[in-house]
């Protein structure tokens, strides 16, 4: 009778363990790629955005990987970004001018890539190999297993888009410093996808209603 009671207890514990381990809903599995993205904007609260009238957008994007400048890029994604930025700035009342015309605002685009590299090894896995796989199965009862040291590496990459508005109009008055007065940052899945460009820029402007002027 006692044995049967313990079996029942074990049965109940196993059921509990099963339920406990299988019943958590993973939030990441319930997000589309667009929903994984966050858009963060920040602005200089002392800036008067209506005092700027003209702007120019950089003709390509800077790639910055692990805090190192890797060069400029102009692909389909960057072209979409530039067009969308020009459209949104114009809708906000600013006038697009060429770089040589001395714009009040400069728009810079940066693609920020962070990579993390790590090492994994499964030493413990081989220590217990004969427990997982009885050598008897292969016709070698009593034998042990041996494996050279296995090690591997992994790399995780996260991407971010950053758009900066720079105050060129007051650069001299600001002590010969070009001041950043607005920043937009997008992070998440598919940030650098051409189909995401319009969504990202629209999100930046939609949450920055102060970013407007009248000509």
């Amino acid at each position: 009778m006692r044995t049967f009671g313990l079996l029942k207890l074990l049965f109940v514990i196993l059921i509990g363990a099963f339920i406990f381990s299988s019943c958590k809903k993973d939030p990441l599995n319930n997000l589309s790629n667009e929903e994984t993205r966050i858009y963060i904007t920040n602005y200089d609260t002392t800036a008067d955005f209506s005092s700027y009238k003209t702007f120019s957008v950089d003709d390509s994007a800077a790639v910055i990987q692990n805090n190192q400048y890797m060069g400029k890029i102009l692909g389909n994604y960057e072209t979409q970004l530039i067009l969308q930025l020009q459209n949104m700035m114009k809708q906000s009342g600013y006038t697009l001018v060429s770089k040589s015309a001395g714009p009040d605002l400069a728009v810079n685009i940066s693609e920020i890539i962070s990579t993390q590299t790590g090492i994994f090894s499964y030493g413990d896995y081989w220590d217990y190999y004969d427990y997982y796989y009885d050598p008897y199965y292969w016709g070698y009862p009593g034998y042990g297993y041996y494996a050279p040291y296995f090690v591997g590496t992994y790399t995780i990459q996260t991407n971010g888009l950053e758009v900066d508005l720079l105050d060129l109009k007051n650069a001299t008055a600001n002590g010969n410093k070009i001041k950043g007065i607005w920043t937009g940052l997008a992070r998440g899945e598919d940030v650098f996808n051409p189909n995401s460009a319009a969504i990202e820029i629209a999100a930046f402007f939609s949450q920055s209603p102060y970013l407007k002027t009248t000509n």
Binding site: V12, I15, G16, I19, K24
Partner: protein, 206 residues
């Protein structure tokens, strides 16, 4: 999960009703399904949807046919996703994100339980419990989360009915409701109070 539970319930019933021994002075096990309903600031601040992913289990000693005391453990997984919204952080900063709240509550309590009648087809009961609430709180902004684990005090009041399955043993179906007072006092939220709706089975362990 669904297909497994199809076989699990009959299996539990077969084992539970296989005893013919009497109930008094026995150790009993209870296990059941638990639906969690957030209440108070838990509902207002984090999650308004019920949790259908939960269970409750207990190990009791029956001092008499009416009085029992023991320990219980429960689990509920709460989850809710909110549509994209702009959150103004102050100082010129704003964040636009789909917000997901994921909260797991695992209360471990000592409790006493009193059954009003020791005879009848339906036997009402009431109980009180107190213990520790193991809380895992994870708020996601998009895919970026900030997990926090806390252990807080919890008090539970419960009531319901037992429906005996046998004249000779304490094996019974349990249907009841519980209210969990669970102070939190983190992130501006005073509590994670909740209702629990339970359906399960109790059987003696010899």
């Amino acid at each position: 999960m669904k297909s497994l539970s199809k076989y699990m319930l009959p299996a539990i019933l077969i084992i539970a009703t296989s005893y013919s021994a009497t109930a008094q002075n026995a150790v009993e096990i209870g296990i059941g399904y638990n639906v969690g309903l957030p209440a108070s600031s838990f509902k207002n601040d984090y999650i308004s949807k019920p949790s259908f992913r939960g269970f409750a289990a207990s190990l009791d000693y029956a001092f008499t046919s009416q009085w029992r005391a023991g320990i219980s453990i429960g689990f509920n997984d709460y989850y809710q996703k909110y549509p994209r919204q702009v959150y103004n952080e102050g100082g010129g900063s704003a964040v636009s994100a789909v917000l997901s709240n994921s909260i797991q509550l695992l209360p471990v309590m000592a409790h006493v339980n009193y059954t009003l009648f020791d005879k009848g087809l339906v036997r009402p009961y009431a109980g009180l419990g107190a213990g520790a609430n193991f809380i895992h709180f994870d708020q996601y902004l998009g895919e970026f989360d900030n997990p926090v684990s806390k252990v807080k005090f919890i008090v539970q009041g419960e009531a319901g009915v037992f429906i005996p399955l046998s004249s000779y043993s304490s094996t019974a179906i349990k249907i009841g409701a519980a209210y969990n007072f669970s102070p939190f006092n983190e992130f501006g939220t005073p509590n994670l109070n909740s209702w629990g709706l339970q359906a399960g089975i109790r059987f003696p362990l010899h």
